[in-house]
Symmetry: C2
Subunit: 444 residues, 2 copies
C-alpha cells in the first residue's frame, strides 16, 4: 500500500527541488513534486534564449521526462496557493495534498524595489516567456529602426539600457554587443546595427560585486572594448516608455531609449510570506524565510525551505546568495537528512561548500573566482563552459545544446532570432504612412 509510506511533498522543480527528489530515488518514501510549469529550467542559460542563440527547449527539460523512471515520484502540475504547516497540507488549484515531510523550493521572482509600474517598460529575465519576450523586444527595436526616418526616434530605438550589473546584467550586455556587432552585421540596409548604444547601469562602484575587484575591472574593460557603456555608482530614478532617468552621484541624466531590460533585483516567491505568517517565522528584506541550521522552518522540523526562498546565515554572516550551487547543495542535504531521520540516525547540520564563482561576459570570455585562483578571459570561459556542460549532462538534450552552441560560436549565427508571441509589428510606430521607398540607404 503506497499510501502508508512516508509522504514527501516538494514544491518547485528548480535546482533545489529537482536535486532533493533525485537524491530520494531509493529512499522508502512517496514523493509528490508540485510545479506550476511542466519543465525544469536551466536558468543560467536563459540569457542565451533572450539573445536568440538557443531555443527554449534547449534549456528546459520536461519534469515528467526527468522522473519517468523514478517510480517513487509523481509530478503534479499546479499552482500552490497555501501551505498549512499545522495541518501538514498544501493547497493547489488542483486540490489539497498532505505531507509528512515538506520541501519548499519555490524560488524567486523579479523585484522592482516597490516601483512595479516599471515592469511593463523594463522586463526582467526569469521565465521562458520573459526570454522570448525580450528576444522579440530586442529584434523589434532593430526592425522599427530600419523603417524609421526620424533620426532621434531611430537613435532611441537603437539605445539599450540594462539595469543591474550582476551576472545577468553583464551577460545581457555582452550578448547585446555580440548581436549588434556580429550577428546582425549584414542584415539591414538603412541602419547599421553596430551603431547601437548599449548602456549597463549599476548602483555599486563596480559590476559583478560577488567577485574580487580585479575581475570586476576585467569585465568592465571587456564590455567597454565591445562598445558597451558601463555607468557605475548610478541609480535609476524613473523608467518610462521612451526614456530612463538615471542619477550618477549628484548628476541626473535622461537617456532616451525604447529598450530597458531589468536585471537588478529579485525577491522570494510570495508563498514564502504566507508560510512565514502561518508558522510565525521571520522574513528578511527580500522576502526570504530565515531557516534553522538544518534548513527547517523554525518550530516545524518536518518543513524545509531551500534555494532562493531560504535565508541561511552562512557561518553567522551574510545569507547565502541565490545561485544554483547553493540550491543544489541544500537539496542534497535535505534528501540526506530525510533519509537519516527515517533511519533514526543523528541529524546533521547544513554546511555550504563554496566552490567558487563563474560568470561569462561575452564571446570567449568569462571571469572565475575560486578564492585560491582568480582567472579571466578565455581560460575562464572554457572552465565556465565545462562546468555548465557537466551539469547539463544530467539532461537528455545535452548533445544538441553543445552542437547548437558550437555552431553559434563559430558562425556568429543566432538562428533562433524569431519574433514570436502576440503578433503586432510596431503598433506604436510614430510615423505611419511615410514612404518607405524614400528611406536613405545606409552609408558604408
Amino acid at each position: 500500500m503506497p499510501q502508508a509510506q512516508h509522504q514527501v511533498v516538494v514544491i518547485g522543480g528548480g535546482f533545489g527541488g529537482l536535486t532533493a527528489v533525485r537524491r530520494l530515488k531509493t529512499a522508502p518514501v512517496q514523493i509528490k513534486l508540485i510545479d506550476k510549469r511542466n519543465f525544469h529550467l536551466f536558468q543560467p542559460l536563459l540569457y542565451q534564449v533572450a539573445g536568440g542563440a538557443l531555443s527554449p527547449a534547449n534549456i528546459a527539460s520536461p519534469l515528467r521526462n526527468l522522473f519517468a523512471r523514478q517510480a517513487n515520484c509523481q509530478v503534479l502540475l499546479g499552482n500552490v496557493s497555501r501551505i498549512d504547516p499545522a495541518a501538514r497540507s498544501v493547497t493547489t488549484n488542483e486540490g489539497i495534498v498532505r505531507y509528512d515531510t515538506l520541501v519548499v523550493a519555490a524560488g524567486a521572482t523579479h523585484s522592482y524595489f516597490g516601483q512595479d509600474q516599471w515592469e511593463k517598460y523594463a522586463p526582467g529575465l526569469k521565465t521562458i516567456e520573459d526570454a522570448t519576450n525580450i528576444r522579440a523586444k530586442i529584434l523589434t527595436a532593430f526592425e522599427e529602426a530600419e523603417n524609421e526616418l526620424d533620426p532621434a526616434v531611430r537613435k532611441r530605438l537603437l539605445t539599450f539600457v540594462i539595469v543591474g550589473g550582476g551576472p545577468t546584467g553583464v551577460e545581457l550586455a555582452g550578448t547585446l554587443a555580440d548581436i549588434s556587432r556580429l550577428s546582425l552585421k549584414h542584415d539591414f540596409r538603412s541602419i547599421n546595427p553596430a551603431d547601437s548604444r548599449i548602456i549597463l547601469v549599476e548602483g555599486a562602484e563596480r559590476v559583478l560585486t560577488p567577485f574580487p575587484p580585479r575581475l570586476s575591472q576585467h569585465a568592465t574593460e571587456f564590455l567597454q572594448q565591445r562598445g558597451v557603456q558601463v555607468m557605475l555608482k548610478t541609480r535609476v530614478n524613473e523608467i518610462q516608455a521612451d526614456h530612463v532617468l538615471v542619477k550618477t552621484q549628484d548628476q541626473e541624466q535622461v537617456i532616451e531609449t525604447r529598450n530597458v531590460l531589468w536585471a537588478a533585483g529579485v525577491q522570494a516567491a510570495p508563498i514564502g510570506k504566507q508560510l512565514a505568517e502561518a508558522a510565525g517565522a521571520s522574513l528578511d528584506r527580500s522576502g526570504r524565510i530565515v531557516v534553522e541550521p538544518d534548513l527547517s522552518l523554525p518550530g516545524y522540523p518536518e518543513v524545509f525551505v531551500i534555494g532562493d526562498l531560504a535565508n541561511y546565515p552562512h557561518q553567522g554572516e551574510t545569507p547565502l546568495p541565490g545561485v544554483a550551487p547553493v540550491a543544489i547543495q541544500q537539496g542534497q542535504f535535505v534528501a540526506r537528512l530525510i533519509i537519516a531521520r527515517l533511519q533514526g540516525a543523528p541529524l546533521p547540520q547544513f554546511k555550504y561548500l563554496d566552490k567558487g564563482n563563474l560568470a561569462t561576459i561575452g564571446k570567449w570570455s568569462a571571469v572565475a573566482d575560486f578564492g585560491w585562483l582568480k582567472i579571466s578571459g578565455l581560460s575562464a570561459w572554457v572552465l565556465w563552459l565545462f562546468v555548465h556542460l557537466m551539469y547539463i549532462i544530467g539532461f537528455r538534450n545535452r548533445l544538441l545544446v553543445l552542437i547548437q552552441w558550437a555552431w553559434n560560436f563559430l558562425t556568429n549565427d543566432r538562428s533562433a532570432r524569431l519574433i514570436t508571441g502576440e503578433q503586432n509589428t510596431s503598433d506604436t510606430n510614430s510615423t505611419p504612412l511615410t514612404s518607405v521607398s524614400e528611406l536613405p540607404p545606409r552609408e558604408n
Copy 2:
C-alpha cells in the same frame, strides 16, 4: 543611384515569395520583401512543433539572415493593408511602398466554413504560435487528466478529435498516436496515456484524397494499427468546449472531448479580396484570385499572384493545390519572367511540373505517388525525409534539424514538449479542492 532601378516588391516570405527573391539575386532590380513575420516558416514540419519533437527555431529561418548577402534585397517587416494596382503602391503599417513589378505571395489562413465560433475550441495549424498553442493544449490535457478523479471528465480529456483527413490531419493523428503510445509511456502515475482515444474525422470517403485510393487505404490501416479511429464520410455539425457533434451519413453522434484540432480547410489571405476588388479580378470560392496563364493579375501585367493565393487553372482543369512545390515553381517562373521582360525577351507561360505527392503518416511510414510509382511504408518515408532535407539544405540550421530528428526517432524523445505561453494551468478544472492524495494509482 539605386532608386532609378526597376523596383520589385514581394509580399510574403513563404515558399513562393522566397523563391522569387532568390532567383532575382543577380537581376538588375531593387527588391523589397515585405512580411509581417521576421522569419520564413517551413510549414510542412509545423506539426512536428505541435507534437513537441522540434523547436520553432528548427523550422523557422530569419528572413534577414537568408538575404543578408543578397545586396539587392531589403526586408521590411510590416502588415500590408492595401494594394493600389492603379497607383502601383502597397500600403503597410510602416508606410507606402511603390513598385514597378509586384509579386503577391501572401498565402492562406484557416477556414471554418463560416463557423468562425469553432476556432476557439478547434485551433488550426498555420503559424508558430498555433503550433506552440496546440502543443500546450495536448500536453495540458494529459496533465489535467492525471489530476482528475471523475472518470467521465478524464475520458473527455483523453479524447482527441482531428477534423480533416488531408496531409496535416493525418500527420497530426499519427503524431498524437506516437505521443500517447511512445513518448509519454512512463511519464504519468494515475493515467495511462496509451488509453487515449484519437479520432480522425474526414468528410470524403477516404483520407488523403489527392493520393490514389490504394495509398489512402494504406494510410488508414497504418493509423488504425496505432489505435487511431478513422471516421470517413463524416461531417462535423457542431463544436463546443466539451464535445463535438458529428454526422456519418444519416447518423448523428456526440463525441465527448476537450481537444479538437482543425485541419479541414484553408482560405486565401484577406488581402486577395481587396486586390481583386481594386483590380476587378475574379475570386474563387476559397478567396483565391483567378490569374492569367503567366500568373499575372488580369489587366495588370506588372502584378503577379502566386502560391496559395492564386487560382491557376492547370491545363484547363481544377486549380493547382496549395502546396509548397506549386508555390516554389511559380516563384521561379515569375523571377524568370521579370528578367525576360527587362531584356525584352518573349514572355513564357507558366507550366506546372507535377513531381508527385508525398505525405508522412507516422513513425517510419509515408505514402508517395509519382503517377508511374506509388509506394508506401518505410521506403516512402525515407524518400519523404530525403526530399524535405534537400529543401532544408538551403537553410543554415539543416544539420541541427537532422540531428534533432534522428535523436527523436531513435529514442522516442520529445524534448520540446513545453507548455509555454500565457501561464494558466487548468483554470477550467472542474474539481477544485479534491484531495490529490486520494488519486488511485494506475493499474499496470
